[in-house]
Subunit: 364 residues, 4 copies
């Protein structure tokens, strides 16, 4: 079977490294090109990347030469973007204009009216927005985004509740891991024996992206944009001294308050398209509810379901809103690279990668 | 001047060690007796205590022999209690019955109807409850409590707001330091690269003690108990890998929503009896509002005002309640031993230590 | 194929948990019995163990009832011991006397003259000592030990050098992980932002076990005990705030100083019986030399080769002895449970488990 | 009394911040100028510095405008240098040429034949080298250096032994704190749950600076350079996850092996010029020997003697060299800024600051 050649933009960073490991032996995709910033261009990937993961770089990729993040130089029809925020905005559009499909982890286009911000279990129908882009760019290319690392897990945890019972208010405090800030990221002197109660721009992302994820397609044809969910979301975001895994304490208020048993059943039973279609990277259970009194915990639960699930626990009544609980997810897997890849897998099975375009090309 | 002889119960633990350092050169009190559990009794304090603080044990105290926590053996008229929860309940009553005034950091009696649960800046008038105890015990002795380490800082941060504007709802998430669990406390394998979203009993303490602190004396004589404040408080409590200093994210709703400027002014201007009376351990500012976008931080702010203040920052609008902010305090100083000593200082200036009882005794 | 039923003594602790994961799907062994201390006896293993590993307890084992560590109650012919030091000495002898073969991670018998202290790649011939025990106990049972977690990796790193070039002096400083102290082990307040330059008994273990590992069988029949290697070993042992993985800086002096290239070749080429016999838990390379200037590192290299190899790097001239280098190994895998299991695998292929004894028994 | 106006070069970094706190209320020196890199020039110091210490910047300094590190712009006769390595070499010479006395913490000139590398307790007589510089530069200015943070504490710990008994060999392994790498320095992802066994250039500094510190003035006039001590020093340097305080394990061999008691007495009794002259920053005991079995420890002992002493413990026989012990020191106080200031205090009392030059100037 011919695999689809893909490129990774921003391949040397932490999220880029996760792309490498998720795509290296992927059944549908084949890494054809690696691109990064100027000081890496021309180097072997193994020399350019400061590898952070506790296993070796696949040898064939270590030898691959790094390309510039230039749509004229990078040829793959499917592009995974881990580009830095300050350049992702323009570059991703340039890639879409030259016909590339861009599955992006970057933030600039997430809230664009015509960009699908998608979690495959939550709002796959938002993909319809891609058509608006194609027309705008007069191209086969378009951009699809996953959310912020904290938001994805929050939205995954809220989706079963909102779909069944209807949410009105959400108050969340996050305790976020260091890998969320990339590399070099947080200086060690800033975090050893410390908590930093501020992460630039993060709270706004959580508050706005969540209601887009949980929103509905507007218009009769379903491609006139998104009507945001009518939920008031407030976030406190903090950095703590963990390597991977964002923990969140969440209080919620419903339109009609369900029983605790109903809520746990909603978490237990939640499934979506990735499970139905058996996507390669899909977790068996996208949301996992743990019964222990002191779970989820970062070090024990972040890797559950290959890091692709949201783990929930400690559901109890809240004196201020209706209920409160704890939620945890791996921030660079389901919270970043894993989300970007799962989105591309969804495009694949939906026929949105238009395979005919590269069907002649043999990727060995 | 003759100082008042005092005893420390539970002297070898973390809070006991803080008592030692706060009382060692106190202008009004003199450590006369140290008491601890059976396996320490008879030993020199320097041998019995596993000293945790980054300076030496005062030499005279290192040589002092440890007594049992027995009201017949410990003679001091004023007793500081850092007793473990499981034995504090009965023992503190026994001390009160033999006539001792017990300033306690232990939790069992905090919510007793006749026990003053006091923060001197917040509710000094609650001391009136001591009279009920004196009658009940037919003794000059009584128990006065400070709150839980997380609650004290929350209540100190809320008091200026509740007094000026009236609070209705409070939603708090804590990120608590390791010293809050005592020694040996949290095993290192449980917390390195981890967050534990559960601390037994903690959330209930925060939710109940807060409304007692902010409550009012009932009855015409002011000694018929406390009417709890009509505030709904909900807490999520977490353990993180910091040594000292509890950080809390707080969302609040008011009876009448004030402006942000009014709130900051309330923090800036808050003063209480300890400041007015210039108590030895009183901070100059009990609440400190910081203007930086990323403060308070645990390592930078926990020692401000000798660890006796609550540091606040990041006031901003909340999408769910009215406002949200961040709050920090040192958990074993103002959150424990410092609170217990400040309470005793308040008793001293209020004449509630009945100095005539020990005025003959010379303490050199 | 019938698997050999095995028991785990001390099954609830950290090393016991590693036994569970290494033996759960072992091709030759089947966990038949789990034993632990009195407060666990009778409970389901899943309830008795405070599970520390980032994946679930195998379900069948979670349901297994915990037995007492009593040779009359535990029937398996092969017993893995993770018993605490204070009781391991007598209990392991009692198991050997009733005919059990005890592969032990405990320290009491390591330096016994008739107990093989074995690393399969280093000194498999020491197994001959087991015969002395069989005669002494008038039993088919005997004890075989692996070494201390720091020592095993030191000895594995030194073996290729000693075998080729002959060592005279070794000076080592260890930086040891928290899991080496078991659970609850090191209190978090003792190690956050700290190094503890003392681990009780550790330095002596490193200094004595190393020369037994590298020693030779005495006597014509090879079963008159061990002649220790004539190497002077000196150790400084320290505890640092890592979860798993002991790092060691090592300086060595040779009988005849080889070239640096010869030393690296010795590390690269080192193989032993486990590799030759393809034992299930054997690493492909028992010693791995890394060329980067800043490796091995704890977080990046401890899991290499399934945690069963010793990783070495930074070979350079030493101004005091001949050469110096850095060495790293996983302390609860190759440094503990992995070593105990690999020793049992060696017994299996050597025919020392006398399979006929349990060949009738069917283990499903 | 008129204080001597001083400048701080590299004032915004970690060591610069320590200079601020040590010099702010110094009895002899007054901070007159703060200089830093281009992106700080012109800003208020409080805005330019990312303040790292757990107390506030002195207000008057927070308002001071930052100057460029230019000898034409910085006028103070005494200059404290915390310049980065890559620019310190040329800039410090330029300052000396325009007549400034430069007390430097930077490394480029430490091993220059005509630059005194001084620990006031160890080798104050090396100051004589300054005359060579004055002639070379035809100026009243010259450079004096303190050593590397690891080396200073090693040399302080070795000095009492070398002076009394004569050392031949020293093998040291360091476990160094994060502040030693400056700010932002070590990325948190590189050090949480990790040890990095490599610090660029550090081992060579330890090996060469130590023998210069312990060396002797050559020539009849004592100003023909330094004859290095005939000691073979070998170092392994590691980075661990502590904030402040370098721990070192040390093995030593003597010309004539003394008794352990003699060694401890040497540590106990060691005093030098700073103690004799009662310099403001001098510790009472420059070397402190602790008798506990598990000390010194980083968190408990780094701040002893105001962070200006070297704390030693665990003296015991070494199987390879004669003795081994553990040594600890604060790396940014006595290991950096404290050393630079103490050197300047020594210059002051030795008359080497030529006070007449600024005696007219009034510093308010």
């Amino acid at each position: 079977m011919n695999k689809i050649p893909v490129a990774i933009l921003g391949a040397t960073g932490l999220v880029g490294q996760r792309f490498i490991t998720l795509l290296h032996e992927h059944p549908w995709f084949e890494i054809a090109e690696l691109a990064a910033s100027d000081n890496s261009v021309g180097k072997k990937y193994g020399d350019a990347a400061k590898w952070q993961l506790p296993f070796e770089i696949p040898e064939s990729l270590a030898e691959m030469r790094v390309l510039p993040c230039d749509p004229e130089r990078v040829q793959a029809p499917l592009v995974f973007s881990a580009l830095p925020t300050d350049i992702a905005g323009d570059l991703e559009v340039a890639f879409a204009k030259r016909g590339a499909i861009v599955s992006s982890n970057a933030s600039p286009h997430r809230m664009d009216a015509d960009v699908p911000l998608v979690i495959p279990e939550v709002n796959p129908e938002h993909l319809a927005l891609a058509e608006i882009q194609k027309q705008k760019y007069a191209s086969d290319g378009y951009i699809i985004c996953n959310g912020n690392c904290t938001t994805i897990h929050l939205a995954l945890g809220l989706a079963p509740l909102h779909k069944r019972f209807g949410l009105k208010k959400v108050l969340v405090t996050s305790m976020q891991a260091l890998s969320g800030a990339g590399y070099p990221g947080v200086p060690s002197l800033d975090i050893i024996d410390n908590v930093v109660p501020y992460i630039g721009g993060e709270e706004q992302k959580v508050e706005t992206e969540t209601v887009k994820f949980l929103g509905k397609l507007k218009g009769t044809k379903g491609n006139e944009g998104i009507e945001y969910a009518d939920i008031r979301v407030s976030a406190h975001c903090n950095r703590v001294a963990t390597r991977d895994g964002h923990l969140e304490t969440v209080s919620v208020e419903f339109i009609d308050k369900p029983s605790a048993g109903d809520i746990i059943a909603a978490f237990d039973e939640f499934r979506g398209l990735p499970q139905e279609l058996n996507l390669p990277l899909a977790p068996i259970h996208p949301t996992v509810y743990r019964r222990e009194k002191d779970r989820p915990q970062v070090k024990l639960d972040r890797d559950a379901e290959k890091g692709m699930a949201t783990i929930i626990g400690r559901l109890r009544e809240c004196n201020v809103l209706d209920y409160k609980f704890v939620l945890l997810g791996h921030n660079t897997l389901r919270g970043a690279a894993g989300a970007t890849v799962l989105n591309a897998e969804l495009l694949y099975v939906k026929g949105m990668l238009e395979k005919e375009r590269w069907s002649e090309r043999v990727v060995e």
